[in-house]
Symmetry: C2
Subunit: 417 residues, 2 copies
């Protein structure tokens, strides 16, 4: 039966307030928010002052509290809180993707060592129950690939560039005015946020641990009107897509790149602030999940679901990790990309394995071809500094040196001969 | 830890064979298929003869077997098998939506009485984990509505009427030739299959029990070129949509009708044999799940997931039923429909609460307006016999006599005045 949880809450912004309201009105289970830790001492708050504290240890060292719900922005402070709480044997629910992704291996070990639950559904794709679905439903399914739109801010901007023909700059400005993008949008528009989520999801889908600093993320900051026009001409849309692919039995590739998608792709119809996830299973085929990716309520719903699961003693089993303890992250893959460049000299920085298309006209030059991911990693700063635009095209992500590749390229050469 | 399951399998068609293969190759858990019951004594089968039996009691009365996986077509025989197995204290996994929907209350009671697991994810929407998601993720979310495309056969036919401008009859014929529709397609095209799934989903989303004979299903058999042209003119698509709506705190409406959907609806992009489900939660907003709805592999994936869950002792908690034991099914609602009729006399059978549009031209006549569901139930045979076509339009489903309705209609009258 459900347990009566005693909760210590960190943060009382939009998500925290919604959660407080819903917990007090839930028929399903009993969970009391005993204490709420907040930072700002002067802010007016809609609850009795006695429920708030400015001292985190008043919650963390309170033996009555058995669950910590962490909803603050600061990833470093969130890490301190979560680590301390887990060490003290408290269960933890968090929405902080950056914190989880940066310390995934350590927090994985700590929760096992202390035998406590550490749940973070709200960290990935808002209200879409992606982690739970991977853990509970696809636990014995061989997954080939997980990809999607994990960041609502960039998707809103990209939607406007297509639907209203706005430039990237104008769309970003509109997103900021409407509150969809922060005044410093780096985390979203450069693809860091999407990367953190992809790293978390990769553990649950494939059992692989990857470090944020090893995973390439190139965002949409260099998107130009040329690239937008290219999409429009081909009836494509541009989406920022984190892709997690099993490229061999024991190898998983992860990267975040813009992508040209056509209308056959489930993600084509995921617009504005929505998120979408495609899980490609060997047996089940493509599963597609779509929902609101950002905002207080969707995040709150995911946090609520974790708290509810906790009341039944739920823990992530990390079954994929246990099934595949030797699975490793790799960047040794090739992929097909569109690269817009400004002059021939720039292009010389990029060694393509094969070139499918090349276009030169006026100031607009692009090449489409197969390239090693390492070549993009090496040139990331160069791409951003010189405002080149790179986007993936198609779905072939292949491990370098894998035998099928050799055969296929041999076949291709014969075909061309 | 995971338990080693001993499985007795009923049926060895496409799903059963795929399952056998996957179970024998799964890293995740150990489950042995001890015995397989089949009907046809002369068929050649790819396994050793010793594993098969033609006597169901050889499985049902075998104390070594603790799990029954039921994958036969015959709903009545499936019911006998499942009831006997549950009574004997065996866990049961089934994919038979008709059987589950028809005996839902009895099988609900029996599994509680015998304290066994009864899992049927594969019965609803193929590989989409809708039951598990409702049970585990939305267990404390107030859901407003669940609707979707639950039947791949009709969706394939409807897609062809729009994308290839085929008539209903030509599209059905094509579906039969390609193996997407059975030679007797009644169950699919008249909406029975979708209804069974909606009834199962309604229990997990809202806690309500509904009997198949009380729930209206009108399918797509009377769809004419006029109706298809109407959709094309308005840039709509026609989809067969089961709709389960909470119309009051203690009242849930369920019906299956064709629907005109526009491109703002998530289901607009669910084509061919795909299924899609929209879960509309108060807190989480609209969640959309899409996946392959039919076929051996998607169904097998869902069965596999249930078996895997069983190995961890999983049971449905039916939390919504326990939270809302007094919730009742109702047909006392109004909805907005498009009704195509052949002559004025036919139209007199239908009393509309209000009429929004009426069109008469040549042989094509339709009316769009708000009508009581009871008026459609009363006229169901009349609609089918005279080949009228009815489709829902818009999303307003309201309990008759609910006070908001009165206020709103009062407001509306003022606005028109």
């Amino acid at each position: 039966m459900a347990k009566n949880l005693k909760i210590g809450l960190f943060g009382f912004g939009c998500v925290g307030q919604g959660l407080y309201h819903v917990l007090n009105n839930s028929k399903g289970f009993k969970a009391d928010i005993v204490k709420i830790a907040v930072k700002n001492k002067t802010k007016d708050r809609p609850l009795d002052k006695g429920v708030f504290t400015f001292d985190k240890f008043e919650i963390l060292d309170n033996p009555e509290i058995d669950v910590i719900v962490e909803l603050i922005d600061d990833a470093d402070e969130a890490y301190n809180i979560v680590k301390y709480a887990l060490s003290k044997g408290k269960h933890v629910v968090t929405a902080n993707k950056k914190m989880v992704a940066q310390h995934l291996q350590e927090l994985y070990n700590l929760q096992h060592e202390k035998n406590v639950s550490f749940l973070y559904e709200a960290s990935s794709c808002g209200s879409i129950p992606i982690i739970r679905t991977l853990e509970e439903y696809f636990d014995n399914e061989q997954i080939q690939k997980v990809s999607g739109i994990f960041n609502g801010t960039t998707n809103y901007i990209l939607t406007k560039t297509i639907s209203e023909k706005l430039s990237y700059e104008a769309a970003l400005k509109q997103a900021q005015e409407k509150g969809f993008a922060e005044s410093d949008p780096t985390n979203d528009v450069e693809g860091f946020d999407a990367k953190f989520k992809a790293i978390i999801i990769a553990l649950h889908a494939f059992g692989v641990f990857a470090k944020p600093e090893d995973v390439l993320n190139i965002g949409i900051t260099t998107l130009s009107d040329y690239d937008i026009n290219y999409a429009a001409e081909k009836s494509y849309k541009i989406k920022l897509i984190p892709t997690v692919t099993k490229v061999a039995d024991d190898k998983v590739s992860i990267f975040v790149l813009p992508k040209y998608v056509n209308s056959n792709n489930h993600l084509f119809s995921v617009d504005n602030e929505f998120n979408g996830v495609i899980v490609d299973g060997e047996f089940s085929g493509e599963q597609f999940l779509k929902g609101r990716g950002a905002g207080g309520h969707p995040t709150g719903a995911a946090v609520l679901s974790d708290i509810s699961a906790l009341s039944y003693g739920y823990k992530y089993e990390y079954k994929k990790q246990k099934q595949n303890p030797n699975i490793k992250f790799t960047n040794d893959v090739t992929l097909k990309v569109y690269l817009r460049y400004n002059n021939e000299e720039e292009l010389r920085n990029f060694v393509f394995d094969s070139i499918n298309e090349q276009y030169t006209g006026g100031e607009y030059h692009y090449v489409i071809g197969v390239i090693k991911l390492a070549a993009l990693i090496k040139n990331k700063e160069f791409i951003l500094k010189n405002k080149l635009f790179v986007a993936s095209v198609g779905d072939d992500i292949k491990l370098i040196g894998k035998s099928e590749n050799i055969n296929e390229s041999a076949k291709k050469q014969v075909a061309f001969a």
